[in-house]
């Protein structure tokens, strides 16, 4: 018996030693001899249901880092190589906080990107105390900057910004009855609460809540049929692009001809690949990244297809994080330090004006507020009309 258990243990020990070695070499390697190293930390889902989302975020960070290293990063007269260190948190808030701590203490990261609201919240509880670090928060819930955490900056536009232009668009067309068919995550519920208030405030009628968890239901038909039975003029939908596309398709299949308000998590460019684009006619959502006319848009679209994948389009998940990395590294240059998170945070507003054009892809921030919001004056939403043509309308970040 003991003989047997030892023989099964040995390869295990060997394996863990090898992986430990691999891990440590990851941490130190990279910088090719000259100058120092700046580590950008990332904690996001690499496995489980959010894996694809995590991949998109990491892709943006990696593409930015490659470009930065090519251009050269000089801080206080010294040259640096930037590298990314990404850990898997499976979308778990606690794991995100633990990862962030590890990245700061073991890898000397002074900036950690966290792409989900729960993880951001957990990281915000530790980033101003024992180990200080700056959080690159990728989630569109305004609460992130309302917690008075001076070491946070919020990368995407707040979702509340979309409310007013969406409502105006559909009420101008005569829509009165709003159906609710969004995903039942915390994010979905917040969107729903906001839209319910604003729609009623604008004199419309909100129908019963048919939100369901897009990720936990095997069949959407029942919820869709139930929402349609109340004859809405416009329906609030949204969750991951792919499932959102299926919900929209199911509604069209069941004979619905009204409009859709699409929450900012779902992207037109991705949905078009999952359903007949005609189904998406008469709906409003965030503007596709490739449609921006910013100086760096075309190049990033090309690089994404060449270096990451041709199977899916470039979306804001990648482009906004791409911009944010460029912004934060520029802030290090402006502040003259890559180790002091407070100084880096304070340098963000000035850095925003100095970032190279190649990093300006989809509504690059013109202003960084004291709260930590990134404000772009050129942000737009998209309306796909009943003919399938896109027109764009301004969205004011608030």
């Amino acid at each position: 018996m003991s003989q047997k258990s030892r023989s099964t243990l040995r390869p295990l020990i060997a394996l863990s030693t090898v992986s430990l070695l691999a891990l440590t070499s990851c941490g130190n390697g990279g910088g090719d001899g000259e100058g120092g190293t700046i580590t950008i930390g990332v904690t996001g889902p690499q496995s489980g249901g959010g894996a694809l989302y995590g991949e998109n975020v990491e892709a943006g960070i990696r593409l930015a880092i490659d470009e930065l290293n090519e251009q050269g990063v000089t801080i206080d007269g010294e040259e640096y190589t930037v590298e990314m260190r990404a850990l898997d948190d499976e979308y778990q808030p606690n794991a995100a906080a633990t990862n962030a701590q590890r990245l700061v203490e073991q890898d000397d990261a002074s900036v950690v990107f966290v792409p989900h609201a729960g993880g951001i919240h957990a990281a915000q509880e530790i980033n101003t105390s024992r180990s200080e670090f700056l959080i690159g928060a990728y989630s569109s819930d305004r609460q992130i900057v309302e917690r008075d955490n001076e070491l946070t900056f919020m990368i995407p536009p707040t979702f509340a910004s979309y409310s007013e232009p969406f409502i105006e668009l559909f009420q101008d067309q005569g829509a009165e009855r709003l159906g609710l068919l969004a995903t039942a995550s915390e994010y979905g519920q917040q969107w729903t609460t906001m839209m319910t208030q604003d729609w009623e405030g604008a004199g419309g009628e909100v129908l019963s809540n048919n939100n369901f968890d897009y990720g936990a239901v095997s069949d959407f038909a029942s919820a869709v049929a139930s929402a349609l039975s109340e004859e809405p003029d416009v329906i609030l939908v949204g969750g991951p692009s792919q499932t959102t596309a299926l919900v929209i398709e199911e509604a069209r299949d069941q004979g619905y001809e009204g409009g859709f308000m699409i929450m900012d998590q779902a992207k037109f460019e991705e949905m078009e690949l999952f359903t007949d684009p005609e189904n998406l006619n008469n709906s409003a959502g965030p503007k596709p990244v490739a449609e921006f006319d910013d100086p760096g848009t075309d190049e990033l679209v090309e690089r994404f297809a060449e270096e990451i994948t041709e199977e899916r389009p470039l979306t804001a998940e990648t482009s906004l994080n791409f911009q944010a990395v460029a912004l934060v590294v520029k802030a290090m240059e402006v502040a003259g330090t890559h180790e002091d998170p407070t100084a880096i945070r304070e340098a963000l507003p000035e850095a925003a004006t100095e970032v190279d054009d190649v990093f300006r892809v989809s509504g690059f921030p013109d202003v960084v507020t004291d709260e930590g919001l990134l404000i772009s004056d050129t942000l737009e939403g998209a309306h796909r009309d009943s003919e399938g043509n896109y027109e764009y309308f301004p969205v004011e970040i608030e």
Partner: protein, 288 residues
């Protein structure tokens, strides 16, 4: 009324899928007395295999499902040999841990081969048919018909063929079955193969109305466990009744209560059954 009929068909097609997935799990439990936690992962692999045969290999839809069922049966048998057979004399917790391990392995394997992307499988069965004044898609009609055909074939196999009867014999009394010359090893493999084939059919049928992604099995896994506990662990008629009951209950609760109620209903029913009749609705006295 139209809404009711429409939701009835939605519930029926969902129930068909639940049934096919649940029968495999209940068969494995009946024969080996283990809850196979990797069953949902097998379902997911079944969907990917169907997707592969249909999209990458260009095989017609029904044939793609059949091929996927065949390949997955092979994987199921392999899993029995590699994962569960070596543990046949170990305590039950070991099976559960091994099954969870197999589940993570399959998740990672699929993610390594096909990536974490969502995939959409277009079914060649399109269009809608009018039944009792409501529009029902042909895909849903196909799901219901296929489920019924497969269930009839399965009943015939278990009741009328030697191999099927040997499964039932082992289910009823493992020791007695080996005394009369039934090889329990072969029955274990057969059961796993059959369970995997059935779950592949379920996955192939539902894939066109849903999305394919590495964790798609987790959703159905929880429901399927609820179904077999509801119907009685190890009982095939129980899995059938449980599957359709849950499918219909979900559709009706979504319509007449709320969408959230539709998600919760499985567990409400489960708690009620456990409280009132803990052995499940259709179980025979628990053996062993």
């Amino acid at each position: 009324m139209t809404l009711f009929i429409q939701q009835f068909f939605n519930g029926l097609s969902l129930g068909g899928v639940y049934c096919l997935a649940a029968i495999g799990l209940t068969l494995v439990f009946g024969v080996l007395r283990i809850p196979n936690l990797a069953h949902g992962a097998l379902y997911m692999v079944g969907a990917y295999l169907t997707y592969f045969f249909l999209t990458s290999a260009g095989v017609p839809y029904i044939l793609a499902i059949a091929l996927a069922a065949l390949v997955l049966a092979g994987i199921g048998i392999g899993m029995e040999r590699v994962v569960f057979h070596p543990l046949r004399n170990a305590p039950h917790t070991h099976h559960m841990i091994a099954a969870a391990g197999a589940m993570f392995f399959l998740h990672s394997l699929v993610q390594a081969i096909w990536g974490a992307d969502f995939r959409r499988m277009e079914s060649p069965i399109t269009g809608r048919v009018e039944i009792l004044g409501t529009q029902v898609s042909w895909q849903r009609v196909t799901i219901v018909i296929t489920a019924v055909v497969v269930l009839i074939a399965l009943t015939w196999f278990i009741k009328k063929t030697v191999h099927g009867q040997s499964i039932e014999a082992v289910e009823q009394d493992r020791v007695g079955a080996s005394l009369v010359g039934i090889n329990p090893n072969r029955v274990s493999m057969l059961t796993f193969g059959l369970a995997a084939a059935l779950v592949a059919v379920a996955a192939g049928l539902v894939a066109p109305i849903n999305l394919i992604y590495p964790t798609m099995g987790d959703v159905i896994m929880v429901k399927v466990f609820a179904i077999i506990i509801l119907g009685g662990l190890g009982s095939i008629p129980g899995a059938i009744v449980g599957g359709f009951t849950l499918g219909l209950a979900e559709a009706m609760a979504t319509t007449y209560v709320s969408a959230v109620a539709g998600e919760v209903i499985a567990f409400v029913v489960l708690i009620l059954v456990l409280a009132i009749r803990p052995t499940g609705l259709l179980t025979k006295a628990v053996q062993r």
